[in-house]
Assembly symmetry: C2
Homo-oligomer: 517 residues x 2
Amino acid sequence: MSTQFDNLTKARERIRAAYNPELLREAGHQLADRLADHLGRIESSQEKVLNWEDPAVNSQQAAEFLALFHGDDAGPQEPSDRAALTPKQQADRFAKLIDAILARGQNLQDPRYIGHQVPGSVPIAGLFDAAGSVTNQVMAIYEMGPWATAVERAMVDVLGQLIGWQAGEFSGVVTHGGSLANTTALLTARNVMLGDAWEAGAQSRGREPVLVAHTDAHYCIARAGGILGIGTNNVIRAQLDDRRRIDPNQLDETLADLRRNNRPIVAVVACACATPIGAFDPLNDIADVCARHDVWMHVDAAHGGAACVSERYRHLVSGLERADSLIWDAHKMLFVPALCAFVFYKDRSHRFETFRQDAPYLFDPSAPGLAEYDSGLLTVECTKRAAALGLWGTWSLFGKQLFADMVDVTFDMGRQFYEMLSEAADFEPLHEPSCNIVAFRYVPNKLRDASPERLGTFQLDLRRKLIRSGEFYIVPTSWQGTGALRVSIINPLTTPDHLASLMQTLREQGADILAER
Amino acid sequence: MSTQFDNLTKARERIRAAYNPELLREAGHQLADRLADHLGRIESSQEKVLNWEDPAVNSQQAAEFLALFHGDDAGPQEPSDRAALTPKQQADRFAKLIDAILARGQNLQDPRYIGHQVPGSVPIAGLFDAAGSVTNQVMAIYEMGPWATAVERAMVDVLGQLIGWQAGEFSGVVTHGGSLANTTALLTARNVMLGDAWEAGAQSRGREPVLVAHTDAHYCIARAGGILGIGTNNVIRAQLDDRRRIDPNQLDETLADLRRNNRPIVAVVACACATPIGAFDPLNDIADVCARHDVWMHVDAAHGGAACVSERYRHLVSGLERADSLIWDAHKMLFVPALCAFVFYKDRSHRFETFRQDAPYLFDPSAPGLAEYDSGLLTVECTKRAAALGLWGTWSLFGKQLFADMVDVTFDMGRQFYEMLSEAADFEPLHEPSCNIVAFRYVPNKLRDASPERLGTFQLDLRRKLIRSGEFYIVPTSWQGTGALRVSIINPLTTPDHLASLMQTLREQGADILAER
C-alpha cells in the first residue's frame, strides 16, 4: 500500500509539472516568436511552399520524436528527471518540436500556395482557436461551452442574414468540415422528405429513394448517398450546360420522370460553386424547378457562400436564399483555419429533424429551455470544439470589410490569371472562370500536336515536379478524361506577379521534363 | 476602372495589415501571458469553475463584440483607419477579445471541474494545436499535410500496438469526435457485413439489418442506426447483467434468434466503458460469442481505451484486441483538447471499405502509391485539421508515463470518492465504480423518506444551483428513472480534498434549497 501511495505522489508531481502555468507561459512566448518568424519568411517566399518528403520517411521521423526525450517506454529514472526540469528547459524542448512542425509542413501563407480549396488563412485567427484549445472550450450542451455557443450563434446570425434571411426564421450550426456539413443537411432532407426513414430505415417497405446531384458535385455528395443508406447507385446526376452548371430544363425533366415513376426524391443538390472549374449554378431557376416538383433544394456553397459578403460578387449566389438547406465553409473563402463549416436551414423548424433522440444525461429536464442552445442536438458531433472562435475573433478585429476584401481580391485574380493564360501562346485556359478557380494546361511548342493522353500525362508529371521543387503549389485535375492543371487562388497575398512567375516556372520545369525524355 | 483599381489597392493594404507577422508576434505574446495568468488562477480555484450566464445574454454580447471596433457594417472611413493601426494597437484589441473568451467560459483545468467526459486537458497540448491552426496544416491527401499525416500515423502506430496488435496488421485514423468515429466504424461494418449496402442502399431487396448494442451505449450508437439507413427501430439492445455490463449468455441467445430469423447483423457494439456508470464489458466473452455467430465486434472504447497505457488498469480492457473495430478518444482520457478521436480496424484490409470511391482531382494517378497516406479515403472529413498534433507533441514532451499517471490518478480517485461517499451517512453511491465515473445521490436527513421522484428532482435542482454558483461542475444523470448526480473525475489536478469539499458544498447548498421551500 505504501508503494502504491508513493507512486501516486510521484505521478501527481509529474502531472503538476505538465500543468505548470509557467511552462505554458514560456512555451507560449517561444511559440509566438517562432510562428511570427516563420510567417515572415513564408509570406516573403523565403522557404519552399511545400516541404516535400517521402511519407515513409516523415512517418519514421514523427515516430522518432516520440522517443527523443525519454526513450520508447519512459524508463524508470526519466520521469522524475522530467518533473525536475525547469519550465524554461521544458519549453526549450517544446520549441524543438515546434520547429519540427514548421519545417515539415505545407506553407499555405506563402503567396505561391494556390492549391486546394484550403486557404492561406488569416494567421491571427489561429490564435483565437488556441485560446479555445488551451482551455479546451467545447460544446454539445450550452453549459459546457457557454461562450463557445454564444460565439457560434453570433456568427450564424450574421452569415444567415447575409444569405438574405430574416433573423429568427432560419437556423444554423457549425460542424467539422464541408463533407460532414453536406451529409448532415442531406440527412435532414432525407428525414423530412421520407417520413419515417430515421426510425424504419432509408428503404423501408421497398421504397427506393434517390438523390439528384450536380454531375460535378464534390465526392462527399455521392458518399452521402452511400452513408445515408440510399445507395450510391441511387444518386442521379443532374445534367449540365456548356458552362458545367445544372441545366434547369433538363432538371425539370429528370424530376418529372422520377415523379412519374414514384421514386421518392431526397433532394436536389446544386453547387455554388462546383469544385472542378468553380461553376456557379443558376440558383433561382433551380429553385423554381424544385418548387414546381415540391423537392428539397440543397446548395453546396462551401466555397461560394462567401460571395455573400462581397458587393462585387454577391450576384454569383443570387437565389441562394431560396435553398431549403445549404452549407458554407468558413475555412475556405472566409480564410479561417480548418475546420469551421456552417449548415443552414431556411426554415428553423427543420433543425431538430436531423436526429430524433435525446440523451437524458445531456438534456436536463430541470432546465428544458436550454435545449435550444445545445449544439449536440443539431450535429453529428456530441462534444464539439469551439470551431467558430477563429471566425468570430477575426470578424471582431477586422470587420466584414476584410472578408469582402479577400473575396474581391482572390476572385478578381481568377479573371486576371485567365487573361494572362489567354494572352500566352503556350498556355491554354480550359474555361472562363467565375471566381478564383482556374483550370488550364501548359502546352509547349513540342507538344502542340501531342495526343490528349500524352498532353494530359505531361500536365500531371509537370505538376508533380513543380510541387516537389517547392516553387509553387497547384493541383491536378482532369479535363475531358485527361490530366490538367488547376489553381484555387485562395491566398489573398498572391499577386499577378506571382502568377506570371508560376507560368515562367512551368515553362522552365516543363522544358526540363521534355529534355529528360 | 481606376476606382476599381484603387479599391483593390486599399483592399490589399488591409489584407497585408491583417497578415502582418508582427501583429501575430505581438498578439502571440499577449496570448501567452493571458493564458498563463488565467491558468494559474483557475488551477488554484481563484475563479468560478463555470461562468454561468443566460444564453440569450451571452449571445447578445458575442454579437456586440463583432461590431465593437468598427460598427455593424464597417463604415467607409474605418477600414483605412484599421490598416493604419500599429500591430501593437491591433494586438491590444486582440487581447480584449481574448479576455472576453477567458472570462466567459468553462474552466476545465480548475480541479473542481469534474463533469462530462471532457478533460481538464494538458494546457501545452493546445499550443501544439495552435501551431497547426495558425499555419493551417490539414490533411485529406498526403501532400497537403505531410507532417500532419506523419504525426497522426505515428500515434496510430503507438496506440494500436498498445491495444495489442502487431505493427502493419491493423489500421487507424483520426476523426472529429467519438460520435463520428463510432459512425465511421459502423459504416465500415455495415458495408463489410451487408455486401452491397454502399451501392444499393442499406435495406435493398427487402433485407432488414439490425445493429445490436449495449443498452447503455452512448446515444450516437442509436443515431448511427438512424444515419446509416438501418433505422433506429432496428437497433436492438443487448441485455445487461447487474453491473450494467453486456451479459454474454443473453447476447448469445439474441444473436442465435436473429440468425434463425435471417436478420443480417451489422455489428455488436460493446462498451469500454459505457457512459452512465463507467461499466466495462467482458470483452473476451463477447468476442467468443461474436466469433461463434460470425458477427462484427465493435467496441466503443472512447473513454476506456486509455486503460491500455496503464499497467494498473490494463486489465479493464482485456480482450479489446479481439474487436474488429474500436474507437478511442484522445480528447477524453489522454487529456488532449477536443477533438481527436481514433478509429481502429484490427484487419487493415477493412480500411478502404468505409467509402468506395475516389475523387480524381484528389487521388493522382501520377503517384498512386501515395493514396495509402491519403486520410480522406478513410474519414468522413475531406479536409481535416491536424487533430493529432496535440497528442503527438504532448507524448513527445512527457512520454507515455504522463498518460499512465493521469489514468492511474483519476481512476484511483473514482474508487476513493466511492469510499468517501460510502462512509458518509448522507450520501449514497449508486454503484461500485470501475474507473473515474461515479453516480451518486445526496440524501439529507430531511429527504430520507421522500419518494424517488422527489429525491430525484432534488438532485437535479441541487446540481443546477451548484453549477450556477461556480463552486463545482458535475453532471446530472438518471438512475432507475429518476435524477441523480454524476462525476467524471477527468481532471488529474483533482485531489481527495476537492472531493471532500464537493460533498460539503452539496450539503450547504442542499440545505439552502430545503430552507427555501
